[in-house]
Subunit: 194 residues, 2 copies
DNA sequence: TTTTTTGTTGATTGACGAGTCAATAAACTT
DNA sequence: AAGTTTATTGACTCGTCAATCAACAAAAAA
């Protein structure tokens, strides 16, 4: 009993299921059937709507990225001062959301895919530019000329801290990562620490 | 015409071929046959010596890690002062070797595998501990109490910078990464910069 | 020399999976 | 009412691949 207008609903369900399955497997080694089953439909329908596995992965990444973007924007809403902006970005980056198994799996496999899939590389570049630009808005009033270099270093530090939190034994500790990133900035901004 | 004592030779060839194939594919999605072919033997022999694909991957990782370890040790040989030790570690970490396609592929997939394969996680932990310990030897004379926190932050920064260099468009620039890591330290060690 | 150990492969098995297609059905259009 | 578009699936094709095995070859041991 087909209802019309299913396309966006099915697509959303498939994207979600893709992320969950990648999280469960820890890799891109998941079958379209698994994904479709979790999304409550036949694998043929997944092919119908996405055309192939790769498109499904790309869509899933886009979704993870947009979730993260929304979280950052939300955190920035209540940030009045430059220092508060930086803090907001750090907290959004190390929020519990980003430590969920599915999100971790998506990110790590995202990196792998970015080596070979141009679209994945493009998405990653967009994420990095946006992060950099967000950091710069906060850093320029605090660091002036040095803001650019600081933002680059801080961006890399965020990625590195995330990687370590995510791969270490035991539960990840976002607060520790935030503290470490803060220390990085405070060392560079001894005049006016965060 | 079987010669005796082939086992170590075959194993080494397989490990090397595994790394090359992972680099070519950019993922762990490589077949035992591909690997065996590149190593100049039948896939059956690969199974004979390693028992399965996973063992092959683990052995490949171990090899990459041991190469890196050797490079660091080599660089540390000529390092007389604490500051020189840090510089040596940074340069070894961002050497051209580590930016070769195969090595990059190995590392990124290593991270993915570490999510689910305990042995991979163990190896990664060993690498991180060793890096930390190496950094500490250099940092303690320079930073005293703060050495621990500095080493943790610097370790994460190294990983993050590597990730960014490796995934950006264009050729990776190890020198820039070294400079950025140096700036991190100098900001914390304003009394006695590197 | 017979036996055992080591090295080696072609062929095979058994399973799985991506993508296609024909068919079915409900909903809109004319 | 007839035709078109959208939704949906089971069954199928075609390919791939990990792992196994029987068998063969040569060196070492007995």
């Amino acid at each position: 009993m087909p209802k019309l207008g299913m396309e966006p609903i099915r697509k959303a369900a498939l994207v979600k299921a893709t992320i969950v399955e990648i999280g469960r497997a820890g890799s891109l080694d998941v079958t379209v059937s698994q994904i479709a089953k979790r999304a409550g439909m036949s694998s043929a329908l997944a092919h119908h709507y996405f055309g192939g596995k790769e498109a499904l992965f790309i869509a899933a990444m886009r979704h993870v990225l947009s979730l993260y973007g929304a979280e950052v924007r939300g955190a920035l809403l209540g940030a009045a001062t430059p220092a508060a902006r930086i803090t907001a970005i750090l907290q959004a980056s190390f929020s519990a959301t980003n430590f969920r198994r599915e999100v971790v799996g998506a990110w790590l496999n995202f990196y792998v895919l970015a080596q070979t899939a141009p679209e994945a590389k493009r998405l990653l570049a967009i994420y990095q530019r946006r992060l950099r630009s967000n950091l710069l808005v906060g850093l320029r009033p605090l660091a002036g000329e040095r803001a650019r270099d600081l933002a680059d270093g801080l961006g890399a530090l965020i990625d590195g801290l995330y990687l370590r939190e995510v791969l270490k034994d035991g539960a990840p500790d976002g607060a520790a990562a935030v503290a470490c990133a803060r220390a990085y900035l405070n060392a560079h901004l001894k005049e006016c620490p965060l």
